[in-house]
Symmetry: D3
Subunit: 236 residues, 6 copies
């Protein structure tokens, strides 16, 4: 089977990462998964949330947003509505947890890393592109402040799903909106899971489908981590 | 290994369901997973959200909350803060999706089922108790309005996790707060997944750990569905 | 005249109080006035609001809420609306003032007692059941922290009203919604008033009607205080 | 006993009412109870809230606010805080109910009267001055739109209380802040009650104290209604 | 050309200023530009915003609001909506900047002057009347706390505009709503600008029109400052 | 005098406009004034606000925001705070008015053009870059829907100011934060003003300074409009 954009089922979209995209941020990049484009920045703040004060430990927290016309139809700004949607909050929490799984917080010292992922164009996979780009921004910021020893392992994320009965890697918007099963997987460079979120949309999925989806995700994440390392000039 | 409350690692807490707990609701129950207690109601509204008007299809949506002193320390009411936390929104969306996976919305007609899960005492597993109890309330309400034909299969949920290296079923609060890996699984009576949400807390997890956790969850959910059927007097 | 539920005009509904209903709270009960059911908890916090710091005096504050399906029609959650209604705020303030009238705050030391009244089923009289149950939870919490000497006198509340020209004690929802005059009375065990709130709904009321309503309330409150004492095992 | 401003215990402060104070409003006045000054307007809107549509009946609703520097210390604007305090909501509801008790809503036709009471200087008794002035604005607006036949009886309000053991009429701010018992009474020109709200502040009050307070209120309200009639040029 | 209210194009409306209008405020006035009436108060607070702490410098901040029935049609309260409109925020910022331009903040010491402008009747020019009245209230407050040496120069504001091709000074509501060009000018007593805000409404304006409008504004402001000085009994 | 970035006082920063930057929007560009970068989109909606329904006339409205790390210090998201700052609202209104001055709304038909300006990097002049880029996005969108006849004249904006006594064109962040006088000017291609907003920061400005600043702005805007026309391939 060939997908509408010509990819094979197990093929990622072209991935592009522009490092140091925002001049003020300690770490930043523009990441593109095909037509999905996200600006990721990492900002260093010299304090921690109350629950960590005096522990010598640091923190990583993430925020996520979309420009109103990142989408096919313009969406109303959350600032105009005065509150965050549930979807936004879910994604913010996912990004934060994923990055914290990759870092030894006790080696950060009492600083907070604010990760901002702002989607400027959305064509599916914005949360997985965000995790993948956010790791790059985070790595870069830690490099700047000379704390790379706190990074355990590279982390990246990809979506997999079932569309018309076929298992696909890295769904674009059109595929995502038809998906019967939708799964986001965050893994590290050793092939271990930081997060699995799988959802049946209108149907359930079997154990065997799950196994095959995880296999597909694993391959995609391997390639994404390779890309991260190239951009950051880190040897595998 | 014996757990602090005397259970085996693969053992559920005592499950208790009081049907028709709230007199006004079309469907309701009080569900208890050990000391975790949740009031679940299903309310029928004779209209649907705008995106479904004129389609002949129905909708199921869920809300979740905790009484302030359901927890060891009193928590501030979301109504007093004026907004929902990200955690609350994540749980609400999980409950809604789980129930929609169990029902053929096109056979509901244009009605909305409002599911309310209010935790009156919280000892871990409030979201899985909520899904399990919400299904009972939903089933009961559909029975009342004579639409049971819309129900596909029974659905229930349970948590599994890894604590001190041991895989456990149905974590209580004490276990949950120490868990290295935390996973919520929603399955139907055929053993298919409606939802998997697995998260490493401070560490990642391997493929083999994932397999064993899913095995454990599967057994627990089988027993929960049996309990739901007893209470609703449905033959297996 | 016999009321729709078979009571005489001057008769309370069956009152039931389950002490220690919530395991984490310092004090708690489930109180039932007929089909009206309220969970009341008292939580002890080791600090006071700014205006009392350094005075050696304590504080009592109350919050009130209803589960969405406590009512005949489901009501929208205040947390979802992002603000409290005027009705909720009025009731919260009434509960707080009533309890403070029963306690010598200067003998509490610098602690705050947070009272939470959550209505799980509403059939009229939720605010008077809340005051009456909240006093029980408060008493229990003070017993736990060994500060019973701060309690002056028992306090309870009841509603009275005029329906179709007849004076009634402890109105249920059906009666309440038809009431021409509606009054909530909070009294202590010496028969003194802590609070009177009387309102004509679409008509005014005369001085003589007022006198008779207060007489009726006084009798009902006497019985409620007797019930409180039984449950708390306090001699009259 | 002579009060700090030279009044006898049963004496009102000087009352002044400037009719038609705001040129755009259908009805308006500036009312002064001593140094307490409130602008009251009544605005006519040619529609009713949803629950009255098609009934032929009208509605009266009230809003209340204080300028930030109406008080001894500047208070933060509710618009700046983004929400109304409980006190404001209680007062708004009291004003609305009081005026509705004075009017036959079924003779209004489907219109809403919006009553706005804005306190420009506060020296105690702002809610009772508001009720008294709001009635004048309401009467004036109904006169303008030729619907005076909907008015049943004149209504006014006054505060009474116990300060240092002495029963006082129409408390100013200094007295109010020391009051042991505080009561607001709304009555019509026949001496019937529309509303009684009595509260012990730090102590309870006896039946006999209640009787004397109501007596005092009754006299004061008689004088206020006389003043309303003079200003509106209505014969007694 | 004669305007609808009989004025010449270059004529102000009658200006009236009642000094010390609110008894609690350190400085206050009621200012009237024709039928536009604004209560302005200046309140002294003995602290400064965080960014000024420890600098020895003071601050001036302003808030602006309208009573709901200040306008021809009743407008919804911002407190009821829970947020400030953009217009309100623009005006607040304009008033604050204008006053700060008139005062040497470093000679205030670490205090904040809260300026409140509350429009009780609006007939055009509410923001310019607010600036002009706010200066009076501010001056008065500084006189009270013996800090007049911090005042550099008197400041006042006026609107100018083009209506039906004619350049007008001090537009009333009717003129303002037809204006093709609308400009607010804040000047000091030396004829220097503190602020110019000019806007074409549906058309642009030429350089020569701009010059003539500024000329007109300059004359009007001269007269307003003369009036301020009379009221404050300051010699020119 | 040479500026810190090597420019002459009357010199713009390098201006760059990438047309069609966002694939979904009817019109879009990325505009750069030096290091200030703004994504501008124009979205077409087939309806108008209530006050225009049935008039045959269209509407243009604008929203403005900054990414959190567009600035030297990370700023808190307005969506997280739940409300827009006054600054944001002022800028939104300015952009909207400026564009409406350039378009004959009656020739649009009943559509709304939503303009979104999202600053991804901020180095001063974000509002003038937004107006200039927004006009390009708007023009492009009208071209797409074949309504170019509604455009009257090209419009652009630039900032001017006085820094250390020197008059400067197109201030960067460093200059802006030191500016004694700060002015934003919106002009059309005939040299007429759509908007002038001039503010003294800590000092006032004379008539002659104003004249020189307007002269400077005029030259800058001429060049910006030339750039707009090149990008849109419109002959001068």
């Amino acid at each position: 089977m060939i997908r509408s954009d010509g990819r094979r089922p197990d093929q990622l979209r072209p991935v592009n990462i522009v490092l140091d995209y925002i001049k003020y941020a300690e770490g930043s990049c523009l990441i593109e998964f095909g037509d999905t484009k996200v600006i990721c920045t990492a900002s260093v703040e010299e304090k921690v949330p109350p629950f960590l004060r005096g522990t010598g430990q640091g923190w990583i927290t993430a925020e996520y947003s979309m420009l109103p016309r990142a989408t096919v139809q313009r969406t109303v700004r959350e600032a105009a509505k005065g509150k965050l949607t549930g979807r936004t909050q879910e994604i913010q929490r996912l990004i934060g947890r994923s990055l914290r799984s990759a870092v030894d917080l006790s080696r950060l010292g009492e600083i907070t890393l604010w990760i901002d992922c702002d989607v400027i164009q959305a064509d599916g996979g914005t949360r997985t592109a965000s995790v993948t780009g956010a790791f790059v921004a985070l790595y870069r910021a830690l490099q700047r402040i000379d704390k790379l020893e706190a990074v355990n392992l590279f982390v990246a994320a990809v979506s997999v799903g079932i569309v018309d009965g076929v298992l696909l890697l890295d769904l674009n918007y059109e595929e995502d909106s038809k998906a019967e099963v939708d799964m986001n997987v965050v893994m590290n460079e050793r092939g271990e899971f930081a997060e699995i979120q799988g959802t049946g949309e209108g149907r359930t999925f079997t154990r065997s489908e799950l196994d095959n989806l995880l296999e597909l995700a694993s391959k995609g994440i391997g390639k994404l981590i390779q890309k991260q390392k190239e951009v950051l000039e880190v040897g595998s």
